[in-house]
């Protein structure tokens, strides 16, 4: 079985689905001739042609809006927004239209599309290239939010997203693009949306993470009897898996690289408080970035949650 990094795994998923389904088209800035700024779509223009891999003008709202029109027409577009920070100018299309087209047309139209966008910090890129504002998108009913944490799940989640009948925001952690290699089967397989994955079993504390923080959490828990859940889908998120794990361990640490206030960790903590508070043996702890804008490279290591912060949180809940 081939050892692929996440860039290669996502590229393979796109190529396989485009070969299988002629409704799948890519559009975005530099996705064609350049193969995308991270080379995720490399080779797809040559293989599938200009009608299916569209290099668009620089217009995030236009890209998102056009994808909605294509989806309503019966295609399955895959718009790429070059970085999560650039989706901000496309919020109206995503929130006011993509997420509610099925609802506001009472099912006459739907919006099956996968919005791919690199996200997250730690790649020494300029301002707005390292955002982690995933929770914003989870507040909007009608939009699914998926975050792979490595090559294997990236391929299976993307194939599942491409076959989903509703819009999916697919957040690709840039720090992981080439950090990990895993065995990725050549054949198609689906990783079900809405299901978390037990990345490591344990019994004394539950750690919930996603995206690039999963890798960091797994490193941090070495030497601890910790169960690590890889959330994979943020909306709808697998509250059952989290509650079941907390009922077993009695302790919960949530790790995310987004700012703390109204980060997705708040939703997880509130859900556990509602459904499993009597199983808790210690307060829930969130290890997050501070409530400040994502800094440039020189300060990024002071911003992103580090191994020591995660270990301190583990010690805190275990010694409570």
């Amino acid at each position: 079985m081939a050892q692929l990094n996440m860039v290669q795994a996502i590229n393979q998923a796109l190529a396989q689905e485009m070969a299988r389904d002629d409704r799948v088209l890519l559009l975005g800035e530099d996705v064609g001739r350049d193969g995308g700024v991270f080379r995720v779509t490399e080779g797809l223009l040559e293989r599938f042609g200009r009608e299916r891999v569209l290099d668009t003008p620089l217009c995030e709202s236009g890209i998102m809006g056009a994808a909605i029109g294509m989806a309503a027409y019966g295609l399955r577009p895959v718009p790429e927004i070059q970085f999560l920070g650039f989706t901000y100018s496309a919020f109206e299309q995503l929130f006011a239209h993509a997420a509610r087209l099925r609802s506001r047309s009472r099912g006459r139209y739907s919006c099956p599309m996968v919005v791919r966008t690199p996200y997250g910090g730690g790649i020494k890129a300029p301002e707005l290239h390292e955002e982690s504002t995933e929770a914003l998108f989870c507040q909007v009913p009608g939009l699914k939010v998926v975050v792979p944490s490595g090559p294997y799940v990236a391929k299976g989640l993307l194939l599942a997203a491409l076959r989903d009948p509703d819009p999916v925001l697919f957040l690709e952690p840039t720090r992981l693009y080439r950090l990990l290699r895993e065995e990725v089967p050549e054949e198609e397989y689906l990783v079900e949306l809405g299901k978390a994955r037990v990345a490591r079993s344990g019994s004394a504390v539950t750690v919930v993470a996603w995206g690039s923080m999963l890798e960091r959490a797994l490193k941090a828990v070495e030497g601890y009897d910790a169960e690590v859940l890889d959330l994979l889908t943020l909306n709808p998120f697998d509250s059952e898996a989290i509650v079941a794990s907390v009922q077993k361990t009695g302790r919960l640490v949530i790790v995310h690289e987004a700012a703390k206030t109204c980060g997705f960790g708040a939703e997880i903590a509130a859900t556990v408080a509602e459904e499993a508070i009597l199983h808790l043996r210690a307060p829930i702890v969130r290890v997050t970035a501070p409530d400040v804008p994502v800094p440039l490279a020189k300060l990024i290591d002071h911003y992103l949650p580090g191994l020591q912060q995660i270990r301190s949180a583990l010690d805190e809940v275990l010694q409570y």
Binding site: L25, E51, R52, L54, T56, P57, C59, S61, G62, M64, G65, A66, A67, I68, G69, M70, A71, A72, Y73, G74, L75, P77, S89, E92, Q93, A96, H97, L101, R102, S103, R104, S105, R106, G107, R108, Y109, S110, P141, G142, D164, P165, D166, G194, N235, P236, S239, E240
Partner: protein, 351 residues
């Protein structure tokens, strides 16, 4: 070194029918007497529907409503050039286009009455739901045009919007996409000269809106928007051009919003009565009546009869709208996603 001339352009206004009801025989579209009469019936139906909708709002029977009064020629004349295979991306003030294409009247009223079910566009009509977020439907129309071309479907995609929308980024992004990709797309701007309280000169310093198309590399034309034949002629040419793969067109219909922005607005706060009177004398329906009278097709009595028929159609629509039972609470969850999330499913159960 002498400067090099890079572009030189002219913007023209198309007029076919003057205010006296006299038509330029060279420009008059090839329409039968029956088709011209049908245009008249649809414009009168639009006017009566609109008056009725405003009255229903005043009586508390529907919610806030945006009148189309004065824009009947722009809406009916353009939609009359479409077929049911074409795709339409409206804003929220084109009920005359909906009526022309046969959108059920009860559903039109149901929307302004606050019932979600109204936006389930009937099968056979490729019309998108009303778009309240100004201008945001325009890039979606560009996407549908891309899809139509990918599928080799010989259809035109048409999007409607007002003068206010031409100030928004989505308008410009979509115009640019249409030019770059040479899309089968027709932009129909109803320049009714007011975006709530902001007059046209507060939206743009351009001499016309039509000239904005030039910057994006395709044809823009202004038509007299109160002249149903000019609107029809320009739209017909543009949709045929789109269907044949010859690219996009921008049509600016210069018209006038004779009523308030919505039933919640009072236009007397920001514009003069004289201006409204000036435009009332240029009523698109009066102009068509004068023309039809000259051809021996129209009499005051025929207007009475046609208006009575239209009123009966609207009355039946109102009755059907009001007879529909209100939605049940659980319908909050209808068609949110193909499959509700576990949490949504749980929330649905308790309602």
């Amino acid at each position: 070194m002498p400067e090099v001339l890079l572009a030189d352009f002219q913007i023209k206004r198309l007029e076919v029918l003057n205010e006296k009801g006299e038509a330029d025989p060279e420009l008059l579209p090839e329409l039968s007497d029956a088709e011209m009469w049908r245009l008249y019936e649809l414009m009168l139906l639009s006017r009566i529907f609109d008056e009725r909708a405003v009255a229903l709002q005043r009586e508390g029977r529907i919610g806030t409503y945006p009148p189309i009064r004065g824009q009947e020629a722009a809406q009916v004349g353009s939609a009359f050039a479409l077929t049911h295979k074409d795709w339409l991306f409206p804003s929220f003030r084109e009920m005359g286009a909906h009526l022309t294409l046969g959108y059920p009247i009860p559903q039109l009223l149901q929307y302004w009455g606050g019932d979600e079910r109204s936006q389930k566009v009937p099968p056979g009509l490729n019309i998108f739901p009303f778009c309240v977020a100004v201008g945001s439907q325009i890039p979606q129309a560009a996407g549908a045009a891309l899809a139509a071309r990918y599928r080799r479907d010989p259809v035109a995609v048409v999007t409607y919007f007002g003068d206010g929308a031409t100030s928004k980024g989505d308008f410009h992004e979509a115009m640019n996409l249409a030019g770059v990709f040479h899309l089968p797309l027709v932009f129909i701007c109803q320049n009714n000269q007011w975006a709530i309280s902001i007059p046209l000169k507060g939206q743009t310093a351009s001499a016309s809106l039509a000239q904005k198309a030039i910057a994006y590399g395709f044809q823009g034309v202004q038509v007299d928007g109160n002249d149903v034949f000019a609107v029809y002629r320009a739209t017909r040419q543009a949709v045929e051009k789109a269907r044949s793969g010859a690219g996009p067109t921008f049509i600016e219909c210069l018209t006038y919003r004779m009523a308030d922005h919505t039933t919640a607005d009072d236009a007397g706060r920001y514009r003069s009565g004289e201006e409204v009177t000036f435009w009332a004398a240029r009523d698109p329906i009066l102009r068509l009546e004068r023309f039809l009278e000259g051809r021996g097709l129209w009499t005051p009595q025929k207007r009475e009869e046609t208006a009575a028929q239209a009123a009966a159609i609207v009355d039946a629509g109102v009755a059907e709208m009001e007879a529909a039972p209100p939605p049940a609470a659980a319908e909050l969850f209808d068609e949110i996603l193909a499959t509700l999330t576990p949490r949504q499913a749980g929330q649905r159960k308790v309602r």
